[in-house]
């Protein structure tokens, strides 16, 4: 089998593997240099310390980096059967597809291209639009924050670049699908830049070739919203149930710009996601809707930061999780208000619904306020699904599993009410219904 031969030829995620990557790539010099710096950072760091606040509830013991091989992006990648869920019945304005972290299909409605919109492979755009990519790539993510950030910055294989020029409105949603095969890796990067007054919607989903697929995703995401721009970003993480998922996600929201970010996590055996939205211009606002639904022994961690760096900004984070079986979620919420970010309006909330006595949801909200005249509220709830509700629905003819599904759907409704895209609401509804186990 050819795969076996190429596997033997490729070194792993080590110095030899990194050298091979540099040799086979055709990157601009500045990217090669950035990769080398990131690799040096990776080499100089240890794996996350279990005593580190962000990692103390994450169990990395089952994770072995040397079980995975870097992808040879010069070979044709092909991932079969990875489902697409977010765009049923949607007329998209463009789409990108990656397989094992390499973009294999790109399209963009010519009417947007004519207005200067760029939507394509990050590797290609780094060559074709070097100045733009150089300005923004890894501008938000500190590659020294942990080994995964450094590894991703050193060895990313490809990614998705979207650039919307000043005052251009992309009125049809753009779709990105990351597909990964069983046992494969995905080291991709999302870079989205909206110039002043630009507007668009991006639907992003990541899925595997099979439901129980193993895999390693180590990703980065940067959203840059310049003044008065408007971005709706939807991310659905539905990797196979054997996949390790690490990601650093950052958004920077400029003056009077508005970000609506929906983030849904269903898949992966383990996820560690650091998410930060920085409000950097006066009047910036961001709404984040988080949906987590876990089963089996899944363990998902979301560390979220709402960083208020300018006055008169609004941030509103709502995370809801439903847990089954022996699964576990950890949610950390932090509202940071810098000196001078007066009149901040920050809100964060995490509600958890446990469908099993063996599931566990940790909720750790926090505030760090250094400005005056701010309004920051936070809260969280966790509780077992109420048997009285199940009985009530059963007494009206619902089977037990239908009753649970109903209650779960109702629990997430508050989030759905905040998601303004119908196809996304529907896709999430279907994904959620699918996730509810058959109970005895």
């Amino acid at each position: 089998m050819t795969t076996t031969i190429s596997r033997n030829d490729l070194a792993g995620f080590n110095q030899a593997g990194f050298n091979q990557l540099l040799e086979r790539r055709i990157d601009p010099v500045w990217i090669t240099q950035a990769r080398k710096d990131a690799w040096a950072a990776f080499e100089s760091m240890g794996w996350p310390n279990p005593r580190d606040e962000n990692w103390m509830r994450s169990d990395l013991r089952g994770f072995k980096l040397d079980r995975y091989q870097p992808i040879d992006e010069s070979e044709t990648q092909s991932v079969q059967n990875a489902p697409v869920r977010l765009i049923q019945g949607v007329d998209v304005g463009g789409s990108l597809r990656s397989e094992n972290g390499v973009v294999t299909a790109e399209s963009l409605d010519p009417k947007y291209a004519a207005q200067g919109v760029i939507f394509g492979s990050l590797s290609r755009c780094a060559r074709d639009h070097a100045e733009l990519v150089k300005k923004y790539l890894h501008s938000q993510i500190d590659i020294h924050v942990d080994r995964f950030a450094a590894l991703q910055a050193a060895m990313w294989t490809d990614g998705y670049f979207l650039y919307v020029p000043k005052n251009v409105v992309v009125d049809k949603p753009l779709h990105i699908h990351a597909a990964m095969g069983d046992g494969k890796v995905d080291l991709t990067h999302v870079l989205i830049v909206l110039e002043e007054g630009a507007e668009t919607t991006v639907l992003f989903e990541s899925t595997s070739s099979n439901e129980d697929a193993d895999g390693f995703h180590c990703g980065g995401l940067e959203l840059v919203l310049n003044a008065r721009s408007n971005l709706r970003f939807v991310g659905l993480q539905d990797w196979g149930s054997g996949t390790w998922h690490f990601a650093h996600k950052r958004a920077s929201v400029g003056q009077d710009a508005n970000l609506q970010w929906t983030i849904a996590a269903m898949g992966a055996r383990f996820a560690q996601v650091d998410q930060r939205v920085a409000l950097v211009g006066p009047g910036a606002s961001s709404h984040v809707n988080g949906v987590m639904f876990t089963r089996d022994k899944q363990h998902l961690t979301y560390n979220t930061i709402q960083q208020h760096s300018a006055p008169h900004c609004t941030s509103d984070f709502l995370y809801k999780a439903v847990l089954q079986d022996r699964s576990r979620t950890v949610w950390r919420g932090m509202i940071k208000v810098d000196v001078g970010a007066d009149k901040t309006d920050g809100y964060q909330r995490n509600d958890n619904l446990l469908l099993s006595d063996n599931a566990r949801a940790d909720s750790i909200p926090g505030l760090e306020i250094k400005a005056d005249d701010v309004r920051c509220t936070h809260g969280s709830t966790s509780g077992r699904v109420d048997e009285e509700l199940i009985f009530y629905a059963q007494s009206r003819g619902f089977t037990r599993v239908e009753a649970v599904r109903l209650i779960v759907t109702g629990f997430f409704q508050q989030i759905f009410d905040r998601v303004t895209i119908e196809s996304v609401r529907e896709a999430l509804g279907v994904a959620i219904a699918r996730q509810v186990r058959q109970y005895e």
Partner: protein
């Protein structure tokens, strides 16, 4: 149509505590029964045991519907077989619209063999029917979009329960204090609504302390529950007597049942402390 709901020697315990101690009751389709009795005598327990609440454990006796033993059935099987209970304190299901809830419920009850995932009653057809029932019961159509019992006033909850009964058209309905917490006008409306929806169209078991709810629903039978047993059964005049004069005569006539009732109440207080 002839349907029979038969309760024989029913013993029910909650948390290991015996509450019902041998209840016998037979109801036919089209009949109206009133169930009265002092607080804590076991009326709600009887209703919940018939509806199939998992915490109300049947330790002895049987419930049969048209000769079929349903004692061990799950609540949803009973609902699909035609048993309905309007609860004294229905729970709220946040995020679930009343119309969606009722559509799914009505589909399951009307097609008892429906498998999960199979189609629901077509939306348009259902909306039309729901609207008609709501106007018949003088319920604002805005109700349908509100979440199930969420933030409802006491009166709204009771009316929602009657609406549910109307949509499910069960064979037997147990109405648990559908008058409690309502003002006089609201009780009148509830009484008329129950008559309109239920009279002669199902068997009704009306649990109440007052005769107001019975105004439009004169019972053929009135049962008195005390200490977890039905101690007396009579006609409409018994309901009137109990409404006018209370339970003193009953308590004196059935000292054993009265003692059992006091014992249950005492345990309840001990738990509450």
């Amino acid at each position: 149509m002839s349907h029979i709901l038969r309760i024989e020697n029913l013993h029910v315990a909650v948390d290991g505590k015996a509450i019902l101690r041998g209840v016998n009751l037979e109801m036919k389709f089209g009949e109206t029964h009133a169930m009265m009795g002092p607080n804590g005598s076991g009326k709600s327990t009887l209703g919940l045991a018939i509806a199939g609440h998992p915490n109300y454990v049947i330790t002895e006796g049987t419930i049969t519907l048209d000769g079929e033993d349903i004692t061990e059935w799950e609540a949803d099987q009973r609902a699909r077989a035609g048993i309905f209970m309007a609860f004294q304190r229905p729970v709220a299901i946040p995020g679930v619209k009343t119309a969606d809830f009722l559509r799914h419920a009505a589909t399951n009850v009307r097609r008892p063999d429906r498998k999960e995932g199979e189609d629901l009653i077509p939306m348009r057809e259902f909306r039309k029917e729901l609207k008609a029932k709501m106007s018949q019961l003088k319920i604002d159509t805005e109700f349908a979009r509100r979440y199930v019992n969420d933030g409802f006033s006491g009166g709204e909850m009771k009316r929602a329960e009657i609406l549910t009964m109307a949509m499910l058209s069960p064979k037997f309905s147990i109405l648990d204090e559908t008058d409690s917490g309502l003002d006089a006008d609201a009780v009148k409306l509830a009484s008329a609504s129950i008559a309109e929806i239920g009279r002669d169209k199902m068997g009704l078991l009306i649990i109440t302390h007052h005769d107001k709810l019975l105004e439009h629903n004169p019972p053929q039978f009135t049962h008195v529950m005390l200490g977890g047993r039905i101690v007396e059964t009579g006609g409409a005049e018994l309901a009137r007597e109990l409404h006018d004069h209370g339970y003193d005569r009953i308590r004196k006539t059935y000292p054993d049942a009265e003692a059992a009732n006091q014992e249950m109440l005492a345990k309840e207080e001990a738990v509450a402390v």
